[in-house]
Point group: C2
Chain length 342, copies 2
């Protein structure tokens, strides 16, 4: 069932990284078209324009007090031009000396609120909990597809962080391979566990709580801190205290707490830097359901978490060429600053 | 000889990546200061302002026909605020559960021309050869320092590629560790060699010349092509045909050819995208002189090359979170475009 417009995944023979090559190549002039400005008052993601989007995948309905429907709180739709396509088989094959497959997977947009201008840090705890529950529901659903190996939930806020819309949305990408960066984390955690017989993340939490100088906020179930070897200034991680590999198994009690800590950190970052472009993403274990045997020990050595990356600096040839990062603000300074702003 | 203002290198316990933490932390307000515009007509890098820079490390002198000095063609100076500092010992030590050392190394600026407004693609072959010879001389010199493991030559062109100056300069960073991205390339090439008993880069050159669809330009000693699994649109690699691991052993004949091919590719990219921000860097073997025994087999499995990365896209949470890249222009389309523009 090869379609002519199916995108292709290709494997970098040197680094083992996969990349997706889109089937309709963009010419140089296509890159020069400027994107829509941020000034619009409403967009296709807003309440009232549901009919203009691709068919809804799920929503958290908003109800009148009598139980009748009154719109929605969060809504999930397919990406307008998905890089990873739901239909088809993987078609793994060679091309000369190289390796490729079809770009099978899922690409979804999670609309975080019906309100165009509501920022995530202002949406309040109830709404933030609905967003987190929506993440959980989509990850749990996609884990069932045996073609898919990994689901990444991520957020781009601000043009310099890659956002195309000003409406508050998150994204989801499910891929038929474990992405390189995730594989590196899994391998790093596995190596540490093999050497120490302890989870690296649990050890980091103990160390950070003992030292205290990099902690921003602690709740009953989570710790937010600036990592010892942060890649970007003011980088902040939110790590659950309970050792578990998969975000989709987060409990209701943990969701309450996570909404609070994520809201607080985003508010603090906004106070420090108004209009800060940032990304966040959840790193969770690869899909386990279709590979129960293979991944049965995974829970021992991985620990899900959320990473927030403020995009204050332009990466240069040094970072791209070396994978070595320069941190102009120490994590100790950054966490003290964020601890103290309200 | 610990100084209070020495920068620190810290190791990421999860990914094994090193990062440099600067000793004077930048506050949030420091990030808001806008940089100087690009409009100035001269700068501290220009001919005539030599006394204002840190002490010169080397230069390629410009001579009158009678042999007397008449200024310089290229000039190398220390970075104004070096991240890697020349003086001191490594001081490897632990900090709680983490690992760190002093930020020892070298950080140099290679001024590519005395003329403020001369772009690298317009400097002509003679000047481009002088620049490449300057790269070679600095790499050969720094390889002698047993504290240093790796020297990266890189270039940032345009603000969006991290450039702070509009004068055409390159940078050099020598580090006491092998940077993560370089280590990954060395490991990938080593694995391929172990499996195939052939160099991966030599195989890629044969395959690209056989297929032809991704080749931009071929000369006697070099091939320029868009890699099969490019990370960024219009990414172009320049790879020498002679299998050798270290750029600093490049011959005069190869330098002639490399000046031509690098000039041509930069010109083609400018024709495709006027004012394109880009980076390039040379990937060469780690310093071998102080570790001859350890690296004695390295020449078999690595192959130096230069990577040019046009910065057309903003990286988003997807790329940062996954290490997976989306390529809106296939390397076949990009190389055809670049082959045909003059």
């Amino acid at each position: 069932m090869k379609k002519t417009d199916i995108h292709e995944l290709r494997k970098d023979p040197l680094l083992g990284r996969w990349i997706a090559v889109l089937s309709q190549p963009k010419a140089p002039s296509d890159y020069l078209l400027s994107r829509n400005g941020e000034a619009e008052d409403s967009c296709i993601m807003c309440a009232g324009r549901e009919k203009e989007t691709p068919a809804e995948i799920m929503s958290v309905p908003r109800l009148h007090t009598d139980g009748s429907a009154k719109g929605w709180w969060t809504r999930v739709i397919p990406n307008f031009s998905p890089v990873f396509q739901v239909e088809g088989d993987l078609g793994r094959r060679g091309e000369g000396m190289y390796d490729k497959m079809n770009s099978i997977g899922a690409n979804e947009v999670i609309i975080e609120s019906p309100d165009h201008s509501l920022r995530p840090e202002d949406m309040g705890l109830e709404q933030m909990k609905r967003v987190l529950r929506t993440y959980r529901a989509r990850m749990a659903d996609l884990e069932k597809d045996p073609r898919l190996r990994y689901t990444l939930i991520y957020k781009n806020s601000g043009k310099d962080a890659g956002a195309l819309y000003s409406h508050s949305i998150s994204h989801l990408a499910s891929t038929p391979v474990i992405p390189k960066r995730v594989k590196e984390e899994l391998d790093g955690a596995k190596q540490y566990f093999a050497y120490k017989e302890r989870c690296l993340f649990c050890d980091i939490l103990r160390e950070e709580l003992r030292v205290g100088s990099r902690v921003i906020l602690e709740t009953g179930h989570f710790v937010a801190f600036c990592p010892y070897a942060s890649k970007f200034p003011f980088e902040s991680w939110i790590v659950p205290k309970r050792h578990h590999c998969a975000f989709q198994d987060v409990t209701e009690e943990e969701i309450e707490d996570m909404a609070l800590i994520l809201s607080s950190i985003l508010k603090k970052l906004r106070t420090a830097f108004d209009g800060l472009p940032f990304n966040y993403f959840i790193h969770s274990a690869p899909n386990r359901i279709p590979r129960k045997d293979h991944w049965h020990t995974l829970g021992d050595d991985f620990h899900w978490h959320l990473e927030i990356m403020p995009r204050l600096l332009k990466t240069s040839g040094f970072e791209w060429g070396s994978g070595f990062y320069i941190l102009p603000t120490s994590p100790e300074y950054a966490s003290k600053y964020l601890r103290e702003v309200s």
